[in-house]
């Protein structure tokens, strides 16, 4: 049994930067519980001494030469910015001073 608590989900939601109300946290905790139970079976697989696989096809040393390519203009870089000022992306204050 995994039994994921609402507080745990609240912590995860904070790590994942998703605002969630109490009701949503409760629902998510219940759903996550069921899903985690279902996926936890991986630990029962015969995986002792089995190496992990990150990529389905093993490759190595895929490297790029250090040559500049034409990039974006400032206008292109900022064309989708929700907010901008003086050629920079504008974001709300980082610290809460209130």
């Amino acid at each position: 049994m995994s039994a994921i608590s609402r507080d745990q989900v609240a912590h995860l939601a904070n790590l994942a930067r998703i605002e969630m109300g109490d009701q949503e946290l409760d629902l998510m905790a219940a759903e996550l519980d069921v899903i985690v139970d279902a996926v936890a079976s991986v630990a029962e697989a015969p995986i002792q001494d089995v190496p992990p696989t990150s990529h389905p096809i093993a490759m190595s040393n895929v490297l790029r030469e250090d040559v500049v390519e034409e990039g974006l203009t400032s206008e292109e870089a900022l064309m989708n910015a929700p907010d901008a000022e003086d050629g920079q992306f504008k974001v709300p204050a980082i610290l809460n001073e209130d």
């Binding site: 998703i18 605002e19 630990a43 697989a45 696989t53 490759m59």
Partner: protein, 531 residues
């Protein structure tokens, strides 16, 4: 040629007619645009796009002017005697999680509503280079997460066989577009079956190429180690032709293979020829034959497909993938972990929508959290939270780490199976298309639908889904999936084309010849609603 005749041409047939000067690309493209206009349906609620339309709703954006401009350009070049790509002038649709310059890309999420990409995905650049008119961007489950296309922020796509049913997902838009003759070809992305399962339930063809054989650059990442772009088409040969356009090494994708592309279409032609499957050893995956919850009609059509394979000269054997039962868990852990990280960039800082918190201080942290709360649908949030959990301190070994080891086991299973047979075969999906809304509240049931498709993504092997007939109980399409060893995509086309030819000979023509007219379905439905 009439509009109906034009849109029913396969890509290969259309290409031949273009080359012969029997039709122009403009006529062909216009026919598709008109057919799209008459089959997409009307918005059910003009103020709320999430309600969808009265029709297919397979397109999120139709690029009418651009497509026609490309078509006219091709016609002019052809008239001037220029060298053209064989598919030049043949229109194509692009799944809306593949970025395109000059037209919107939303991944069917509110998060990206209004976003314009300043660059083209590598596969899109290849379409442009081949001068294939891009008809528009097709619908999907938000960020390609789902098996029904119901999780689109812009309304569900409908199955052209029955508008009250799902077209599969996440690439329901591309599959429905191709099946309903809105486009002869379309691009899809397949992370756990998102090309193959929609192909299966719409009676079309869909291919998951070997991981790394088609560039992922410009495909909005869902789960990087599982994502792969591939073709949707109505015939195996068409899929092969599009695959040949898309494939090849890309220096912008570190996981891109350097292997030569093809010959896929040539192998498809050989497979379809008399005795084309002679000597081929086909392995039936035991665990998928007796899978829990498999629909009787799916099982029946699948067994008939095996008979057809035997009749075409293939040797049918039974093989086992003993670790298959762990693959669903491994897939959901790896996928959601990668999702949780890949989707972190959607924060309302550099692009996309920004949502301010309803109350309290407006700090960047709270704005990010409010933006992500408003921009992601419940399915995306579920996966992000699951992935965050699986990667978090103290749980990594138990979940993500174990899942990666299971991945090794699944790959070994495939290797062992391919020591005995040339290709594997199974039903693509355990069921035919289910009614819209049936599983949307039950994520686990939805996930189980992917049992045959996800091991392919874990192992990176190529796979294809081809039509296997209509289930007797409901008259809906059944898909048959072939799987080949990595880098043996050509073998896949040979096997699939062999089955396709055998079954079409039995049926007296392609399965999609039996598709009801979408326009009639829409009017029947609209009238039904009016009564």
């Amino acid at each position: 040629m009439s509009r109906n005749e034009l849109v029913q041409l396969s890509a290969a047939a259309a290409a031949a007619k273009l080359a012969a000067g029997e039709v122009s690309s403009e006529e062909l493209t216009r026919a598709h645009l008109e057919h799209i206009a008459s089959t997409e349906g009307e918005a059910l609620d003009a103020a709320d796009r999430s309600r969808g339309t009265s029709g297919l709703n397979s397109f999120l954006h139709v690029a009418q002017e651009e497509a026609l401009a490309t078509a006219r350009g091709v016609d002019a070049s052809r008239a001037a005697g220029d060298d053209l790509h064989p598919l030049a002038g043949v229109p194509v649709a692009v799944k809306d999680n593949i970025v395109t310059r000059g037209m919107p890309t939303t991944a069917a999420s509110r998060m990206l509503e209004g976003w314009l990409s300043p660059y083209d995905a590598t596969v899109v650049a290849k379409l442009r280079e081949a001068r294939m008119p891009i008809l528009g961007k097709t619908n999907l489950d938000e960020f390609a997460m789902g098996s029904s296309t119901e999780h689109s922020a812009f309304g569900a796509t409908r199955n052209p066989w029955d508008l009250d049913r799902i077209p599969g997902g996440s690439g329901g838009g591309s599959a429905a577009a191709v099946a309903a003759f809105q486009a002869p070809l379309a691009l899809g992305s397949d992370t756990g079956g998102s090309i193959r399962q929609p192909a299966a339930v719409t009676g079309s063809v869909g291919v998951h190429p070997t991981y790394g054989s088609v560039s992922r650059y410009g495909a909005i990442a869902m789960a990087s180690s599982l994502d792969q772009i591939g073709p949707h088409a109505r015939t195996v040969r068409d899929a092969a032709l599009l695959h040949e356009v898309l494939g090849g090494h890309d220096p912008r994708d570190a996981t891109s293979l350097k292997d030569p592309v093809g010959p896929y279409a040539a192998q498809a032609a050989e497979g379809a020829a008399e005795g084309g499957l002679r000597g081929m050893r086909v392995g039936v995956v035991k665990e998928l034959l007796d899978a829990e919850g498999i629909q009787a009609g799916v099982s029946q059509r699948f067994r008939e497909s095996l008979e057809a394979l035997r009749a075409a000269g293939a040797e049918v054997l039974e093989v086992s993938l003993p670790n298959l039962r762990y693959s669903l868990g491994a897939y959901y852990l790896i996928m959601s972990s990668e999702v949780s990280s890949n989707l972190a960039k959607y924060d309302g800082v550099r692009f996309g929508s920004r949502t301010l918190p309803e109350d309290g201080p407006v700090t960047i942290e709270r704005v990010m959290a409010a933006t992500r709360a408003a921009g992601f649908n419940p399915e995306a949030k579920r996966r992000i939270i699951l992935g965050t959990y699986a990667l978090s301190a103290g749980y990594y070994d138990q979940y993500y780490g174990a899942a990666q080891k299971v991945r090794t086991l699944v790959m070994r299973d495939f290797e062992q199976a391919f020591g005995q047979v040339d290709v594997l075969v199974s039903p693509t999906s355990p069921t035919t298309a289910f009614p819209v809304g049936e599983k949307v509240e039950d994520p686990l049931a939805m996930y189980l639908n992917d049992i045959a498709t996800i091991p392919v993504n874990l192992a990176g092997v190529p796979a294809i889904s081809v039509p296997g007939g209509l289930a007797p109980e409901n008259g809906l399409p059944v898909g048959v999936q072939f799987v080949a060893p990595v880098r043996e995509d050509a073998r896949l086309y040979r096997a699939a084309a062999g089955l396709e030819a055998a079954l079409e000979a039995e049926w007296g023509g392609p399965l999609l010849d039996r598709l009801p007219s979408t326009e009639s379905l829409i009017s029947a439905r609209t009238e039904g609603a009016a009564k």
